[in-house]
Symmetry: C2
C-alpha cells in the first residue's frame, strides 16, 4: 500500500426515475458506474433505484450518504416538472435551493432570449453550498454537495460528468481480480471452493455459472483481493483443485 493511501473507499449509487421502475427505460448506468469505480479503486457497496418521488429520494439518499464515502445519483436533473432531484437533494441536506448564478451563466451562453424559458431555468436550480459539475456534452450542470455527486441520467452525459468527477475523488487500493475457467459445473467444485475460501480469508472467491454452447454447463471462478501475493496464492490453489476435480470427473465417466 502506498503511503497515505486509504485501504477502502466506498460508494453508493442512487438511480432516480419512474422510467427505470416501469421498465420503459432499461438502465445502462449501474453496470458502467460499477465497473468505472472498481477500476479506480472505489468499492460500490449498494445501489438503489427509486421513483421520481421526493420522500423516496430523500430517504434513500440519507441512508446511502451516511454509510458510504461517496454517493452518486443519476437522473432527474432535466428541465421538466418530473425532474425533482435537485430539490430533493436540497431537502435531504436541509439547505435552500435557488437559481445558481454560475449555472445561469452557463445556460445564458447557450440559450438566448425566449429559449431560456422557465423550463430551462429549472436546470439552474442548485442547492446552497454545492459545487457545479460541468461536462463536455450538455450545458446543464450536475453538482456536488457534501459527499454526494448529482449526475444526469442520459448515459453519454453521465459518463462525461463522471470523467470530470473522478480526478477529484479519494481512491483506495484497487481490488485486483483474476478469472479462472473451471471446465466443470458449479456443483462439482463448490465443496472444494468453500475449503479454499476458508483458508484464504483475505481473498474473495466468487463462482459464476455460464453455459458454453459447445461444452455445456461451465463455471467461471473469480478470485479478488487487494493484495497481489494473496491473490496469486488463492488462484494457484483454485487451479490445483480444478486439476484434481477434473481428473476425478473424467475417471467417474470412464
Amino acid at each position: 500500500m502506498s503511503e497515505g493511501a486509504v485501504a477502502v473507499v466506498t460508494a453508493g449509487l442512487l438511480v432516480i426515475g419512474d422510467e427505470i421502475l416501469s421498465g420503459r427505460t432499461k438502465d445502462k448506468n449501474i453496470g458502467y458506474i460499477a465497473e468505472y469505480l472498481t477500476n479506480i479503486g472505489i468499492d460500490l457497496k449498494e445501489v438503489r433505484v427509486v421513483a421520481d418521488d421526493e420522500a423516496a429520494i430523500v430517504e434513500a439518499l440519507n441512508a446511502l450518504r451516511a454509510r458510504c464515502t461517496y454517493v452518486f445519483t443519476t437522473g432527474g436533473i432535466g428541465p421538466t416538472h418530473d425532474d425533482i432531484t435537485a430539490d430533493s437533494v436540497a431537502k435531504a441536506f436541509g439547505v435552500s435551493i435557488d437559481y445558481d448564478p454560475r449555472a445561469v451563466a452557463l445556460l445564458k451562453a447557450r440559450f438566448q432570449g425566449a429559449e431560456l424559458n422557465e423550463a430551462r431555468m429549472r436546470m439552474t436550480r442548485i442547492p446552497a453550498g454545492a459545487d457545479l459539475v460541468t461536462n463536455k456534452i450538455s450545458v446543464a450542470p450536475g453538482f456536488r454537495i457534501g459527499n454526494v455527486f448529482v449526475m444526469a441520467g442520459v448515459p453519454a452525459i453521465m459518463q462525461a460528468m463522471l470523467d470530470e468527477i473522478a480526478p477529484t475523488l479519494q481512491t483506495g487500493v484497487k481490488m485486483l481480480s483474476e478469472t479462472v475457467r473451471a471446465d466443470a459445473r458449479e456443483g462439482d467444485v463448490g465443496t472444494e471452493l468453500a475449503a479454499i475460501a476458508k483458508t484464504h480469508p483475505e481473498v474473495s472467491i466468487g463462482s459464476y455459472p455460464f453455459f458454453d454452447a459447445e461444452q455445456g454447463p461451465n463455471t467461471n471462478i473469480v478470485v479478488r483481493s487487494r493484495d497481489a501475493g494473496k491473490l496469486a496464492a488463492a488462484k494457484q490453489a483454485v487451479e490445483q483443485m480444478l486439476v484434481k476435480v477434473r481428473s476425478a470427473l473424467a475417471a467417474g465417466r470412464g
Copy 2:
C-alpha cells in the same frame, strides 16, 4: 375496475451479488422484472442491489418486505460458499433453515451418487415454512416465504421462475401508458408540460430526451394512468400543446 380487484399492488426487488456491484456482470434482471411486473399490473416501487453479505441482505430485505406487497430477490441460491441468500432470508424472517426433503427429492431425481455432493445439497437448504418455486430449466428450486419470492440470478432461470410465480400473484389495475413524440427539445416543452401535469393530477407525465440521428435532440413524452379516459384526455392535451409549441418554434426560426 373489475369487482374484487385491488387498485395498487406494489413490489420491491432485491438484487444480490458482488459481481453486479463490481461491474463484472451487467445486470439483466432489473429491466426484465420491471417490465414484466408493469405488464401484469404490479408497481415496482424500489430496487436495491447489495453484496453477498448477510447483514446487507437482511437489512434490505426487511426494509422492502415491510413496505411492498411483494418482494422478489435474484441471485445467491447456487451451490457455492458465496451463495448465502437462503440463509440470509431465514435470518431476516427469524426462522430456521435446513435441507428440505422436497428439494432433496428434486435433486436426487437429477443427480445420482457422488454427484449429489455437499455443494449441490446446499441448494436444498430452504427456510422453514417456505414453499418451493420450481422451474423448467434447473432442478434447484427457488422459494416463497411470506411475501418474498427468492429466485435465481441466471436470467433464463429467473425468467422461468417468474413465469411460475406470476399466476399466484394478486395483481392490480394495470397502469396504461401512451408515448407521444414531441419533435421538440425537452426545454421547449417543459413549462407547458408542467401546466398539463397540474391540471391532470391522476395522470403521471414523464419526459425523456433522446437524440434522433437525423433530426437531432428530441423528446418522448410518456403519459401514464390506470384510467383510460383520463389517459386519453391528458394525451390529447399534450398533443394540442405540441402543435402550438412547434408552430411557435417554426415562427421563431422563420
